[in-house]
Amino acid sequence: MHKPVNIEKRQFRILYKAFLLRVVDLELLSADADTSRLLGQFAALFAGLSYLFTFWLIFGGGGISPDFLSVMEHFLIATTMLVVGLVSVLCWESIFPDRRDVLVLAPLPVRVSTLFRAKVSALIAALSLSVLSLNSISGLVWPRFFSITNGGGYVGMFHSLAAYWATMLLAAAFMFGCVLGIQGIASLLLPRRQFLRLSALLQVVIFFLFITVYIIEPSLEAPKALVAPENQRLLTWLPSYWFLGLFQQLNGSMLPAFAPLARRAWAGIAIATVVGATSVLLAYFRMMGKIIETPDIVPGGRRANWSLRFGTMLQTSILLFSVRTLLRSRQHRMLLSSYFGATFAIVLAYLKTSLKLLKLLHGAAGDAVDVSFFVASIWVMCFAIMGVRLVISMPLTLRANWIFRMTEIRGVTAYLSAIRRAFFVLAAIPAWLLMAILFLLRWPTWRIAGHLLLLALVGMIVVELSLYGFHKLPFTCSYLPGQSKVHVVFWGCLLVWVPLVAARFEMRILNRPLDFIWILVLLALVATGARWRTTAVAKSAEKLIFEEEYPPELFTLNLLQNLGVPLTHSTATDSSSQSL
């Protein structure tokens, strides 16, 4: 028999590994998919960003002013805090054990404390990996330049390196502690069922809060801005500046203006750590019993199921299934929030730079509608549709798909029509309505009405592009990680750049009614053509796709066919398998 301490250590190690890999929901992946590959992709993405942060240093060269160094210090700290904050919010579900964990582990002789330690350790490991990969290159290159302010030389450089990494890890601990604290306090104060309901909303709100603060926080790194009396109140509410002060303190280059910020950072770390750890620990023991008693997914209302109709039976069925899944499945809702959050950040950053948003909000700018708003509205429309397309490609419960396969009693075009309707109701119409309300409230003019008309047509075209070759039901097809879809990246880039040009053109033609009508007709024709093409491709499809499959490792070149020798598909497949 093993000693109890050894057993606990072994249990901890096993659970830690299992929870670390479960940061990604396995149910989303295809049977052949590899979780570690997906985690590797995330790490590569962060490392790529880290490389971008040093791009200017490597290729730009030239001297760096102390002011720019302060800006860069703040940027790196704020970005690390944002990433850790977002990853913590994305891992929200992993903090507490779910029903499956409890059902599997409760009958086993595993202590709640072991489970808790394994969960938190796995999360800390995932967050540490994010911090490490995000700073993998910038965290080695930039400290060399930051050492200029603490005397330089090898000693100064190592001092800066240590200060840099210590600041990043402490900032990460602060963010993680804040997220833990919010979740822990909410779960302590609310009954489990209400917590589940509020938890999803809280998660989305925090997610958008992090992004908004990151984008709109003003640049106050310069010594003058730091001591300006009008900025003092703002600085007390912006944690990224506290950690800038902390870095300056640890780096040994602190100006007096940074002292209160550094003090605030230390206090923040202490409070976040204590409150986060205590509340989650208390909530853990309180919730364990209740997890089994209450379902993970909050049941729907008692409304009559037949009262809502959105076209044919199939259209209604697919739409209601999509809406209910988005509303009740936390991982899908979070995925959509991440996507919308990124869109929100892009749009906000663009508007901030092109319009000086803060001035506009304070009424300093004029009343005329700017082309930037047109660009922003087109982006919102395109990204809303692309976001829904991305999210509905992720399955909910692969093993429950059999019911859709058993009831597949119509052709693919009928399903396409139902999916199209779901796209309109979930993405295009809400995005259009949001833009219409915002625009018409501020500028109730005919030009805006014309823009909204064009925006509707753009929405129709993007919906058809998203549906091209998409022969899957929402939330039913398995997902293979690691597929680099170059064409998607290409079209994604176009979606970013085309509106920049198109909106300027639109602004001009809105003043010329005849040209405007011609463009309307042209876009209507494009939308009709795209719809026809999507339907034609669906007609040629035999059945819906439920299982994503790896592309064949060998492709035949059909050389014999090129020489005029007919080659059937089966023969081609046979020859490729023989080659294998």
Binding site: I297, P299, S317, R405, T407, G411
Partner: protein
């Protein structure tokens, strides 16, 4: 009539079923038996069209099912072995979704769903998420979803799994009643007593091959055994069950 002709299925060159042939006739209950891993569920999935055969054909009313799979699916009701459902939906929402997917008329579907929920004693829990349902409740939802469109071919893979005694008795009578009304009923189960009581025709599968295909009476006569349990043990159980149980007890005692 459902006819399975020389059907074989391999998974990565490992045979799951080999040359399986049998018929399930209208008005009869065909019991499909076999030990775990014998290929019962694979056969069921091939009959539903969920997986394809490697060789052989499956005919329904004389025509291969894949000739018009959609029409075939309209006439078929299926209860799978595992109760996998969309647990974020309530029982009523799930059944309404199935009715809509099957293109049932609104009035007819409402009547049937309400009726089935009441008869299966699920009406009070119809708005509760399926994730909170017990195994038996989930099984009842699967049965209701399979019968909602009044199928002509009823395929039941372990339909008694998780049901309480009362519900099992209802289901037993229901299967007999469906057959009496001229439907083709094929069901697999490990409850030999139930199978013996309600099946007019038995097919026993062992290691992917058919080892018996006849009426119970004829099997009893041919094998000179009084019960289906005896017949099944002789044909499909290779192990010495008493010896194995002793070995298990010895192992955990050591």
């Amino acid at each position: 009539m459902l006819e399975i002709r020389n059907v074989s299925k391999r998974y990565s060159s490992i045979p799951a079923v080999e040359n399986v042939s049998f018929c399930a006739r209208a008005g009869e209950v065909t019991g499909y038996l076999g030990p775990n891993g014998s290929g019962k569920s694979t056969t069921m999935k091939m009959i539903t069209g969920l997986i394809e055969t490697n060789s052989g054909s499956i005919l329904f009313d004389g025509a291969p099912i894949h000739d018009d799979l959609m029409a075939y699916k309209q006439r078929m009701g299926y209860v799978p072995e595992e109760p996998y459902l969309y647990t974020h939906l309530s029982g009523a929402e799930y059944l309404v979704m199935v009715a809509q997917l099957r293109n049932l008329g609104r009035k007819l579907a409402t009547e049937r769903i309400d009726g089935l929920l009441r008869l299966f004693a699920l009406y009070d829990d119809r708005h509760v998420a399926i994730s909170a349902y017990s195994k038996g409740m989930r099984q009842k939802i699967l049965l209701a979803a399979a019968l909602l469109h009044n199928p002509y071919l009823v395929l039941l893979d372990e339909p008694f799994s998780g049901l309480d005694v009362g519900s099992s008795l209802i289901l037993r009578s229901l299967i007999e009643e469906l057959a009496r009304r001229g439907k083709v009923v094929l069901f697999s189960s490990h409850e030999l007593e139930t199978v013996e009581r309600i099946s007019s025709h038995i097919v026993i599968l062992h290691r992917g091959k058919i080892v018996a295909d006849d009426s119970i009476e004829r099997l009893r006569t041919l094998m000179s055994l009084p019960t289906l349990e005896g017949i099944f043990s002789q044909l499909a159980v290779e192990q010495d069950t008493v010896a194995i149980s002793k070995q298990i007890a010895d192992l955990i005692h050591a």
